[in-house]
C-alpha cells in the first residue's frame, strides 16, 4: 500500500492501469529502447582512442559543419517563412486560404525521397526554378544551397503548426487594449504579439532544427554528396554502413543520436520549466 502510494502521485480511479501501463512500457522498451541501448552497448565495446579517431575524421568533421550550418540557415529562413504563412492563414480571409492551410502539411505527407527528387529537378540550372538563379551565378541543386532548400521544405509544417494555434487563441482584447493605450502597430507587434508567440516559435524552430539535423532522404537527393563539400552526417553514416564498417558507423550514429537526444531533452526541460509559465 505504502509502495503504491509512492508510485502513484494521485490514487488511480479509472480501471485499466495495468494493461495500458504494461503494454506502453513493454512496447516502448522493445520498439524504442532496445535498439537504442544496443547501439550504446556496441559503442562501449570500442576503445576511446578508436572511437575518437573515427568521430574526428576530417571528412566527417566537415560533414558536421555542413549539417549544422545547413540546419541553422534553413531554420532561420523557415521560421520567418512559417511565421508569415501562419500569420496570413489565421489573420486574414482571402481566396485560397483553406487550400493553403491544408497544403502546409504537404512536406509532412510527401515522402522525403520524392521531395528530394522533385526539388533537385526544380533547382538544376535548366530547371523551372533553377533557371532564374543561374544568371545570378547561384547554384542550388548539387551544392550547399540545395541542402538548405531541402531542409526548409521538410521543416515548413513544424513552424506553422506550432505558431498557428497560439495565434488562433490570442485574445483580440489584448491588442485592442494596447491600441487604446496608444500603442502603434509596431509596438503592438513587438511588445504584445511577439512575446506571446515566443514559446511557440522556439518549440517550432527547435523541432525544425532537430529534424533538419537528421534529414536524409530529401537532402541526399539534392546535395550532390561531394566529399568535404556537401556530405551531411547521416550520409556519412550510410556510407560507412555500405562499406560494412560497423564500428565506424556505430560511432557516427552515436554522435548523431547524442546530439538529437540532448536537444530533445533540452527542449522538454525548457517547455516544462519556463515556457509553460508564461
Amino acid at each position: 500500500m505504502n509502495l503504491s502510494l509512492r508510485f502513484f502521485r494521485s490514487t488511480p480511479i479509472l480501471p485499466g492501469f495495468p494493461i495500458s501501463f504494461g503494454f506502453s512500457v513493454l512496447y516502448t522498451s522493445l520498439v524504442i529502447l532496445l535498439p537504442i541501448s544496443a547501439l550504446m552497448v556496441y559503442i562501449s565495446g570500442m576503445s576511446f582512442q578508436q572511437y575518437w579517431f573515427v568521430i574526428t575524421d576530417a571528412r566527417l568533421l566537415q560533414s558536421y559543419k555542413v549539417t549544422l550550418s545547413g540546419a541553422f540557415y534553413s531554420t532561420v529562413i523557415v521560421t520567418g517563412f512559417g511565421f508569415l504563412l501562419a500569420w496570413i492563414i489565421t489573420r486574414y480571409d482571402f481566396p485560397g486560404r483553406r487550400l493553403l492551410d491544408s497544403l502546409v502539411d504537404l512536406p509532412f505527407a510527401l515522402p522525403t525521397s520524392v521531395a528530394g527528387l522533385t526539388l533537385s529537378t526544380l533547382f538544376i540550372p535548366t530547371g523551372w526554378l533553377g533557371q532564374w538563379f543561374e544568371p545570378l551565378g547561384i547554384k542550388i541543386s548539387y551544392a550547399f544551397p540545395g541542402i538548405v532548400v531541402a531542409m526548409i521544405f521538410t521543416s515548413i509544417p513544424f513552424i506553422v503548426r506550432s505558431v498557428q494555434p497560439v495565434l488562433e487563441d490570442m485574445e483580440a482584447e489584448l491588442e485592442e487594449a494596447a491600441l487604446m493605450l496608444g500603442a502603434n502597430k509596431w509596438q503592438i507587434f513587438w511588445r504584445v504579439i511577439l512575446p506571446t508567440l515566443t514559446p511557440a516559435l522556439i518549440t517550432g524552430s527547435s523541432q525544425a532544427f532537430i529534424r533538419s539535423l537528421g534529414e536524409f532522404g530529401a537532402v541526399i537527393m539534392i546535395a550532390g554528396n561531394i566529399p568535404f563539400e556537401t556530405e551531411v552526417t547521416s550520409l556519412m553514416l550510410f556510407v560507412r554502413l555500405q562499406e560494412y564498417n560497423y564500428p565506424a558507423a556505430a560511432a557516427i550514429a552515436s554522435v548523431v543520436l547524442f546530439a538529437s537526444l540532448a536537444l530533445l531533452f533540452l527542449l522538454q526541460v525548457m517547455q516544462t520549466r519556463f515556457l509553460n509559465k508564461s
Partner: protein, 283 residues
C-alpha cells in the same frame, strides 16, 4: 467560437498575403505540378506501362503491407499510452512521454542502424535468430520493424494533449454509474477522440508509406524483394530512369494529397465535435 477573420483592407496586408502565397506556391505547389508533369511527360501509354512494371507493383504491395501492419499496432500503442499518461499520475509519467518522443527526434538512418545492431549478424539476438534460420534484416520484416519505430509517436502525440484537455470527469461519472472499463472506453472516450484517432491513423499511414532513411538501411535494396516505393524512387533516379522515378513519385504524391484531404476533413470534424461539447457545457 472561431474568431472572425478580417478581410484584408490595407495595401501592406495584401502585400503580406501576396508574399506568402508566392512563396508557398514556389515551395509547395510548383513541386507538385512538376511531379505530375514529369510522370506524364512520356504520355499516358508510358505512364501505364511504368505503373504496371513488375518492380512497381511489387514495391507498391510491400509499401502497403508495411503500412497495413504498422498502423494498427501503433494505433493500439498510441491509445493505451495516451490513456495511461492522461488518466493516471504516477512516478515516471513525464519520462514515459519523453521516451516516446525519441523516434521523432532520431535521425531515421540512425534508427535503421540501431535495428541492424540488434537483429543483424553483429548482435547476440541477430546471431541467435540466424542459427534458427530467421532473417529479419535485409528482408521485409526488417522494413516493418523500423517503420514501427519511426511511426510510433504520432497517434500518442495527437491524443495526449486532446485527452489531457478533455479531462476524466465524464469517465469517472460513468464509472460511478457502474460502467466497466471497456464500456467507459467504448461509450465515453472513443466518441470524444474518434476523429483525432482517425487523423492519427492517417498521419501514421503517411509516414509509414513514405519512410526512406530507416528503410534504406535495413532493406538491402533488392529489386522485387525489399524495395518500397520511396526507395524505388531513388533507385530509378540513380539508374537515370527519370520517367519511371517520377511515376513512382506521382503515385506517392497522390497518396500524400489523399492524406491531406482526409486530414483536413478529420481535423474539421474533431473541431466541430469540441465546439459542440463546449456549447453543451455552456448551455
Amino acid at each position: 467560437m472561431t474568431k472572425a477573420r478580417k478581410k484584408p483592407a490595407q495595401i501592406h496586408q495584401w502585400l503580406l498575403i501576396g508574399l506568402g502565397i508566392v512563396l508557398a506556391t514556389i515551395m509547395l505547389i510548383v513541386p507538385l505540378i512538376l511531379i505530375f508533369t514529369q510522370a506524364l511527360s512520356g504520355g499516358l501509354q508510358l505512364l501505364w506501362q511504368n505503373l504496371r512494371a513488375d518492380y512497381m507493383v511489387h514495391a507498391t504491395k510491400l509499401t502497403l503491407l508495411a503500412a497495413l501492419i504498422t498502423v494498427p499496432l501503433n494505433l493500439c500503442f498510441g491509445i493505451l499510452l495516451a490513456w495511461c499518461v492522461t488518466r493516471y499520475d504516477f512516478f515516471g509519467r513525464r519520462l514515459l512521454i519523453t521516451l516516446v518522443e525519441i523516434p521523432y527526434a532520431t535521425s531515421p538512418v540512425v534508427a535503421g542502424f540501431c535495428y541492424l545492431v540488434v537483429y543483424g549478424l553483429e548482435g547476440v539476438i541477430g546471431r541467435w535468430l540466424y542459427e534458427k534460420d530467421v532473417q529479419l534484416m535485409f528482408a521485409w520484416p526488417g522494413i516493418i520493424m523500423v517503420t514501427l519505430f519511426v511511426t510510433a509517436p504520432y497517434v500518442a502525440r495527437i491524443l495526449i494533449p486532446l485527452m489531457q484537455k478533455q479531462g476524466s470527469e465524464e469517465e469517472i461519472a460513468a464509472l460511478s454509474l457502474g460502467a466497466n472499463g471497456w464500456q467507459i472506453f467504448r461509450k465515453i472516450t472513443l466518441p470524444n477522440i474518434k476523429w483525432a484517432l482517425l487523423y492519427g491513423c492517417v498521419i501514421t499511414n503517411a509516414r509509414a508509406v513514405g519512410e526512406f532513411g530507416a528503410v534504406a538501411v535495413v532493406s538491402g535494396t533488392i529489386m522485387n524483394q525489399t524495395l518500397t516505393l520511396p526507395l524505388l524512387v531513388e533507385q530509378l533516379n540513380n539508374d537515370y530512369k527519370t520517367a519511371a522515378a517520377f511515376t513512382a513519385a506521382a503515385l506517392l504524391a497522390s497518396m500524400a494529397l489523399l492524406t491531406l484531404v482526409l486530414k483536413t476533413i478529420m481535423e474539421w470534424r474533431q473541431q466541430n465535435r469540441e465546439q459542440q461539447t463546449t456549447a453543451q457545457t455552456v448551455s
